[in-house]
């Protein structure tokens, strides 16, 4: 049985912050990822390759076993409907917050607010947990615009420094969740390639504990 390990990593900030972590356990891409246009990156380890893909695709790749491991933000995992993977490590990278926010100086309590968000499942769950009915408006970006133009009353979005909110006259209301990136593992792979994957998890877990 081959113990090949494919790691699907979210493009962008998560990928940039994950590379140094992987380097600490001696997994280093052969090509320079900044210059390479390859979608599959071979590494110095014969049996390890890295896929650089859209964040929302990572859970799909891992759940279906196209990749054994994945690195994805908790926001994406919370939004994803499915439990075909394990989530053993909190990598502590790409940290931010999932926030509910609204316009400054506007009444916060609304009977049935319209919420603009990319994260429809998270928003639905969050509000239904304390029995509040909301209307969700799915948008794919620039949430901050929605309350300004009256498209929505409030927004649910990822907030890092909060500067974008402030610049657009919005204030944070509630913190819905703390977000950071997780290592996820396909359930079948965890059993079939137990030795290889367990040792990978242990090594990675050790370097993170040191970092903390």
């Amino acid at each position: 049985m081959s113990d090949k390990i494919t790691i699907a990593v979210s493009k962008g900030r998560i990928f940039d912050e994950a590379l140094p972590l992987l380097a600490k356990i001696d997994v280093i891409p052969k090509d320079d990822p900044q210059n390479s246009r390859k979608l599959i990156l071979e590494t110095n380890k014969n049996n390890v390759q890295i896929l650089v893909i859209r964040a929302t695709d990572v859970p799909t790749y891992v759940e279906r076993g196209a990749a054994e491991l994945g690195i994805a933000g908790k926001d994406v995992l919370l939004e994803y409907q499915g439990d075909g993977f394990y989530e053993p490590i909190d990598l502590g990278i790409a940290k931010c917050k999932m926030m509910l926010a609204g316009l400054k100086g506007v009444k916060k309590e609304i009977t049935r607010p319209r919420i603009a968000t990319k994260y429809t499942n998270i928003t639905q769950n969050y509000f239904s947990n304390f029995g509040k009915q909301v209307e969700i408006i799915k948008l794919y970006g620039s949430m901050e615009l929605a309350p300004i133009l009256g498209l929505a009353d409030q927004i649910v979005d990822l907030v890092d420094t909060g500067k974008t909110l402030e610049a657009n006259g919005l204030v944070p209301y509630e913190r819905i969740a703390d977000i950071s990136s997780r290592l996820i593992v396909n359930k079948a792979s965890m059993k079939l390639k137990s030795t290889a994957i367990k040792s990978f998890i242990e090594k990675l877990s050790d370097v993170i504990e040191v970092a903390e």
């Binding site: 049985m1 081959s2 759940e63 279906r64 076993g65 196209a66 409907q81 499915g82 439990d83 075909g84 993977f85 394990y86 989530e87 053993p88 490590i89 909190d90 997780r182 593992v185 396909n186 359930k187 079948a188 792979s189 965890m190 059993k191 079939l192 137990s194 030795t195 367990k198």
Partner: protein
Amino acid sequence: MNTNNRWLLPEGVDEILPPKAILLEQICRKIIDLYTTWGYEFVIPPMVEYLESLLTATGEDLDLQTYKITDQISGRLMGVRADITPQVARIDAHLMKQDTPTRLCYLGSVLHSRSDSFGDSRSPLQLGAELFGHAGVSSDIEIVKLMLATLNSLEIDNICIDIGHIGIFRSLISESKLTPEKEMEVFEIVKRKAKDELKKFYKKLKINDNSSKALLDLVDLHGDVSILEDATKSIAKFFPEVKKHINEIKAVSESIADEPNLSINVDLAELRGYNYHTGMIYTAYVPDEGKGVAFGGRYDDIGRAFGRARPATGFSADVKQLLELHNCEKVKITRIFAPSDSDPALKKKIKDLREQGKIVVQELEGQKHTAVEMNCSLSLIHENNDWIIKDNKK
């Protein structure tokens, strides 16, 4: 609806065409024959029945998966079965009424209102075997062996059997002093093996008792059988009940240790079917298949609602999934083309061939298609006053 789309099947609903369909049928026969030789009696439960009996003691998951329809005669709700196991349990508990161990097997289509986010099919062809009336480990062993025999009979190799035990998590969580809501949270975390999250959870609640330590250990207790030793040292010390569960897993894994091309994985934090299973659970995996191929486990309480609680264990699989793993290309189907001819000798020849189990396709009057066009590699030819079979290529 656009008329161009009339052929379209609903999402997750599939059909099987030649030549695969006959192969699937052969696989089904082969497996049912196998179960019969092991003493499992075949039952055919109905496609629909009243919802209460379908959903008894099965938890919310199955409820969401079940299509509901109103019975025009009684006004009651009926469900299209999403799983045959509860039906078979009902048959054992209510209709068979025997105290001896009962062995039943079944095969049938089930319908899922939504595909598991994973499996694509909403219409699996479920096949399974259940053993009622024995609480000991030897019935678990029999079921695991039958599960392996099923896969072996289809020449599916390099199987990995994953064994877990729901009782371990149950014992540990029942020792914790958490509210039911918090218990649920721990369950959700352990299910995902999210050790870091579990650490944070306990830290936040300032819990550091034996139960929490054991649950943190539990998350990492998966791998080859050697982890059973680790578990005995770390967890079973404080929880004597767990020791018993570990020994059960040991007994099952030892019983199949000699099987060729088989690897055994133990996962003490596996919680598949937690609402439904009561003891050991076993799942078969094969390389390059991102999900399990056969699922089994003990579910002792299900018969209670039907008036008779009986120990029960069993497993099931989707034959359509097994078909994909079975090497279909190896199977060659040879068809013989017979011309349209009223010669009595030809009639007799065709009859004889068919009795031998050969496939003979006879030409229809006025037909212009050749043997090859009709997918026949052989033809019946009249030569020297006899009908003989010739290869069409020569």
